[in-house]
């Protein structure tokens, strides 16, 4: 990748953006370059999306000098945050933006996957929509390829459109070496050591789907992504399974009363 070590940022003092990204609750955002913000091309269409667009942009770029009352100031402040978020969604899919978010990903700034079998794999922020004010931000785990709700309510309130629906997928296209090895490791519910029949039947069905996919990909000579993918299945052991009682209510004996 390119070398971004020599930044022009240090030449500026970006008061508003510094304040914004270091504010509590804004940990998911990276700092957008001055250069990017001042290139009008990058902001195409946002003037209709953001109230008091020019004042908001002035505030974000530290050239705001309007003398106004607190209420107006607060409105412009809100617009500036919205503008920053919308530009952020565009910025993080640029080469520089991706690199900044990659750094944060490596530090697990976005948290870690809550799924036990993902072993604390770092998450990436994502939106379920690119249109603002529709869906709050979610967190994507590249190991289980699923999405999770942020733990903190401050994060859960952030607009998902500030990250967009593509960034977390683009980053793995640009940095394929980052794609984590996939794992078949999973939880199987058990009672006194025995699998629960209904869950075990679903697990077997899912495993068959997975094996079909692996065969499909191998035929196409595409990397299946599973470490040590030799086609050997590993998740079958034991023939005895627990079953509930059809229709009726049952109390399974706590003493494991099986004969």
């Amino acid at each position: 990748m390119e070398d971004f070590a020599s930044e022009s940022d240090s030449d500026y003092t970006s008061y508003w953006r510094d304040w914004f990204i270091s504010s509590r609750g804004n940990e998911y955002f990276c700092e957008i370059d001055e250069d990017y913000l001042t290139d009008r091309f990058n902001l195409t269409g946002l003037n209709t999306e953001v109230q008091y667009y020019q004042y908001a942009l002035d505030l974000v770029t530290d050239v705001f000098d309007l003398d106004c009352d607190d209420e107006m100031r607060e409105t412009i402040e809100k617009s500036a945050r919205h503008l920053y978020g919308l530009v952020h969604a565009r910025y993080i899919v640029t080469t520089r933006g991706l690199a900044k978010m990659l750094d944060k990903y490596k530090k697990a700034d976005f948290g870690k996957c809550p799924r036990v079998m993902c072993h604390s794999h770092p998450l990436l922020p994502m939106g379920l929509s690119d249109i603002p004010n529709l869906k709050p931000v979610k967190l994507y785990c590249a190991r289980c390829e699923d999405i999770y709700n942020p733990k903190s309510s401050r994060h859960a309130a952030i607009d998902g459109a500030y990250f967009g629906t593509s960034f977390h997928n683009i980053i793995f296209q640009v940095y394929p070496a980052l794609i984590p090895a996939k794992s078949t490791e999973r939880y199987v519910p058990r009672v006194y050591g025995f699998k629960v029949h209904a869950a075990a039947a679903l697990v077997r069905w899912q495993s068959a789907k997975r094996d079909d996919m692996r065969r499909r990909l191998r035929k196409l000579d595409v990397d299946t992504g599973f470490r040590g993918d030799d086609g050997v299945e590993d998740d079958e052991e034991g023939d005895v399974e627990f079953e509930g009682v059809d229709g009726g209510r049952m109390i399974a004996g706590a003493d494991g009363n099986i004969r």
């Binding site: 809550p114 799924r115 036990v116 079998m117 979610k138 994507y140 289980c144 390829e145 699923d146 999405i147 999770y148 709700n149 629906t165 593509s166 997928n169 996939k182 939880y187 519910p189 058990r190 009672v191 006194y192 050591g193 025995f194 629960v196 029949h197 209904a198 869950a199 039947a201 679903l202 069905w205 899912q206 495993s207 789907k209 997975r210 996919m213 499909r216 990909l217 595409v222 299946t224 992504g225 599973f226 079958e236 052991e237 034991g238 023939d239 005895v240 399974e241 627990f242 079953e243 509930g244 009682v245 059809d246 229709g247 209510r249 109390i251 399974a252 706590a254 494991g256 009363n257 099986i258």
Partner: protein, 339 residues
């Protein structure tokens, strides 16, 4: 530490009210007093007797110490006056502080191991169902589970191996509790059996209901003639998996192809057949092998254990469970060998 009514708070209720102990049920004294329920724990917990009796879990007074008994009488008067805790405190002062901390941690270990058994008993699982209904165990962090309520579980029955996890009945997966205060709670205190046993014990909690619906008595339960499969109501088998509940990766609106190096590889984990009857293995097997003996279908033993046999020629047919050392495994294997 004493409750507002002036009644001294028991060791158990003060343990359960500690921060991080929100998932614990209060084990009844009746359960603890039945020696049968404690079988085998003497050898697992240091200072077992002290932990159980002397001012700890059961708050039983020592019989061999006259002085303390007198103190206790005094204290009974005092507790009537609302000054409740002094009895235990004074007893504590009369011991070596180091001794006490050993006994206290033994008591916690012992309580946890009793708790693992208690929540699988009729009274215990009932108490846990009340906590479940009140949402004490939190919600699944998976977005597509839509805040499904979870259950605390252990991934091991042996203390010291892993911390408590949350099992989501809607996706059948396990998650790390969101708050770090649970990361010091031993998973063995909940154990491997409770989560699944809960679903078998309360099959009629409607797992598709959310929010205010679960608080309403009628909607929260499945009633009447819903179809069942493999021992569960069909609608309760991992309801938040399958079409509409699987994340589809997209770039600028276009689905990322499976053929791409970065394409989806894990969707199987969140899949569920669109026709749930596809999980009726016995029926499918019978259809594909019309000549097979009845013996090859699933058998229902004692109403709840199914002995599955694969088709003829399956090398795994006789494979034994090796992953657990529970005596139940032995008896079940024994049962199977008789078939």
């Amino acid at each position: 530490m004493s409750s507002s009514s002036g009644v001294p708070e028991s060791w158990i209720s003060s343990f359960c009210s500690l921060i991080g102990h929100e998932y614990f049920a209060e084990v009844s004294e009746e359960f603890i007093e039945d020696d049968f329920n404690l079988t085998g724990l003497q050898t697992q917990v240091a200072m077992y007797k002290e932990a159980l009796e002397v001012g700890m879990i059961l708050d039983v007074e020592p019989e061999d110490d006259e002085e303390e008994e007198e103190e206790e009488e005094e204290d009974e008067d005092q507790s009537a006056l609302g000054d409740a805790l002094t009895a235990r405190e004074r007893r504590h002062h009369s011991r070596m502080a180091s001794d006490l901390s050993v006994i206290e941690s033994s008591a916690e270990m012992l309580y946890g191991l009793i708790h693992q058994r208690f929540i699988c008993s009729r009274a215990g699982i009932q108490q846990m169902s009340e906590k479940y209904e009140l949402g004490h165990f939190g919600a699944c962090p998976r977005t597509n589970c839509e805040q499904a309520r979870t259950l605390p579980v252990g991934l091991s029955d042996i203390p010291g191996e892993d911390t408590v996890k949350l099992f989501c009945p809607s996706c059948l997966d396990v998650y790390v509790p969101p708050n770090s205060r649970f990361q010091t709670v031993d998973g063995a205190f909940f154990g491997r059996t409770f989560g699944a046993l809960f679903l078998l014990t309360f099959p009629d909690y409607d797992l598709t209901r959310r929010g205010s619906e679960v608080l309403s008595g009628t909607l929260s339960r499945i009633s009447g003639n819903e179809p069942t499969l493999n021992g569960f109501f069909e609608k309760n088998i991992a309801p938040n998996l399958g079409t509409g509940h699987i994340y589809e990766p997209k770039i600028y609106g276009f689905r990322v192809s499976e053929r791409a190096r970065s394409g989806p590889r894990m969707q199987w984990l969140r899949e569920r057949p669109s026709n749930i009857r596809d999980l009726d293995e016995a029926r499918l097997y019978a259809e594909q092998n019309p000549d097979s003996e009845e013996d090859d279908e699933s058998m229902n033993v004692n109403g709840r254990v199914v002995v599955r046999r694969r088709g003829p020629g399956s090398a795994r047919l006789r494979q034994r469970q090796t992953q657990n050392g529970s005596p139940m495994a032995l008896s079940a294997n024994g049962a199977e060998s008789e078939l």
